[in-house]
């Protein structure tokens, strides 16, 4: 799977450190290739929900966290991680971790760019407080870049997305909402 590596991933290839480390690295890369079932352009590593992969004896243990507590995709993701590890020749175990809590700030810069290119506006940084009652978030249209956008609904096609409309190019779009 070397061809699928980004420069950053290639850069963190192990320089040595023995078989275990190498196995761990391979297992991590296998798990990191799993894509989100709802947003197939981003991997679980991009989203920051793959916390770690470690070798425990001959078992590769992947730790995955939730985006939203009720996210129905989590089972699909866990099964996909298990399958990816098995395909890479490991005995897999997937653990669900809840601390530290995931927030949209865990999404990598690369992940944010992939979301934008796919037509989903990436989340505002957490400083844009969701607690400000009736506060409006400024969201740029992922198609034309205009900030002239209006919220249609704070609840969109999945738990993690809100529905917006661009008033400049008139296209509706999803916004990955800040949490």
């Amino acid at each position: 799977m070397v061809s699928g590596l980004s420069a950053k991933e290639a850069a963190c290839r192990p320089q040595g450190g023995g078989e275990a480390l190498f196995a761990e690295e391979r297992a991590y890369r296998a798990a990191a290739c799993v894509v989100d079932p709802e947003i197939p352009v981003v991997t679980i590593a991009d989203l920051g929900i793959l916390r770690s992969v470690t070798m425990e004896g001959d078992t590769a243990v992947a730790r995955v966290t939730l985006t939203y507590t009720g996210c129905p995709a989590v089972l699909a993701i866990e099964l996909a991680v298990e399958a990816a590890l098995r395909d890479a020749g490991f005995k897999p175990r997937v653990e669900r971790v809840i601390t530290p809590a995931w927030s949209t700030d865990w999404i990598t810069q690369e992940g944010r760019e992939k979301l934008r290119a796919y037509g989903i506006a990436p989340p505002a940084k957490a400083s844009n407080s969701v607690r400000a009652l009736f506060g409006e978030t400024e969201v740029a249209c992922p198609r034309c870049g205009s900030h002239a956008t209006a919220r249609i609904s704070e609840f969109g096609s999945t738990a993690c997305k809100a529905l917006y409309r661009c008033t400049a190019c008139h296209e509706p779009f999803d916004y990955f909402k800040c949490i």
């Binding site: 939730l66 939203y68 507590t69 009720g70 996210c71 129905p72 809840i98 601390t99 530290p100 809590a101 995931w102 927030s103 969701v130 607690r131 009652l133 009736f134 249609i152 609904s153 704070e154 609840f155 969109g156 096609s157 738990a159 529905l163 909402k177 949490i179």
Partner: protein, 255 residues
């Protein structure tokens, strides 16, 4: 050094929270396919998903703490009405949209300070659940709050309905803030804040929304209570019949 609690007490506390979330989440899910507009038809199941997800996390943990080998499904599907310890507000019927939005606002405005208090819980697992839920509930407060303003300060008809909802739900507010032996032990162990202390936070959320909506707070002439002891209104039985019918018809069935 904070006091510790017994398994029984922690389980009892977790079941209250979990039952609240499952029951009100199920209620909200009943709107799926019936909402007044498409955006709301997405919004309500979305929030129901949050609530039922939170319930699952709490049931899983309650099952572990209890140590009798019950999993989340057994706890949710195989207990009877009298074993459910949710607050009565959670089980109130949807009624019209005004009733539902006001019920959701009350519950979210109660849970927001409770989750915030549990962020620093001495129980690390519960603090982890709270870290996620606290952010989710902020969306629920905002959603329900916006609707309460829109309907309360809307047309004569929507105002009439919103006021009727305020009257109808008034008797179910006080129960949220009740304390008893279970909450006292939980507070002492630093697991969660005392519900009785959450009232000012609740009022700080609901008050400005009512002011903007032109609604007046109504004091109930009597408060309904008993949910935490398993004494429920007629409404819960029908809800559980719907929720549990597969397990009751085919005991032990799995997907």
């Amino acid at each position: 050094m904070a006091a510790t609690v017994s398994r029984e007490v922690l389980t009892a506390f977790l079941l209250r929270l979990a039952d609240d979330h499952l029951v009100i989440g199920h209620r909200l899910s009943e709107w799926c396919g019936h909402a007044p507009m498409l955006e709301e038809d997405l919004a309500m199941p979305n929030m129901a998903l949050d609530l039922i997800g939170q319930a699952r996390a709490l049931y899983q943990y309650a099952g572990e703490v209890e140590g009798k080998g019950r999993d989340e499904d057994q706890i949710a599907y195989l207990r009877r009405e009298r074993d459910y310890v949710n607050c009565l507000l959670a089980e109130r019927e949807n009624g019209d949209f005004a009733h539902t939005m006001l019920r959701q606002l009350y519950f979210a405005a109660f849970m927001q300070p409770l989750w915030q208090g549990m962020l620093s819980s001495s129980d690390a697992h519960l603090a982890g659940i709270a870290a996620k839920a606290e952010k989710e509930v902020a969306y629920h407060v905002r959603h329900a709050g916006e609707w309460v303003v829109r309907l309360g300060d809307g047309t004569p008809e929507s105002t009439r309905r919103m006021r009727a909802a305020v009257d109808a739900l008034a008797p179910y507010v006080d129960e949220l803030f009740e304390s008893d032996d279970v909450t006292a032990a939980i507070v002492k162990a630093g697991i969660a804040p005392d519900p009785a202390t959450l009232r000012p936070s609740f009022e700080a959320i609901v008050g400005p929304i009512f002011a903007e909506a032109g609604l007046e707070w109504v004091e109930a002439s009597y408060g309904q209570t008993g949910g935490r002891q398993g004494r429920h209104g007629e409404a819960l039985g029908y809800l559980l019949a719907d929720l549990q019918h597969m397990q009751r018809t085919y005991p032990g069935m799995v997907w």
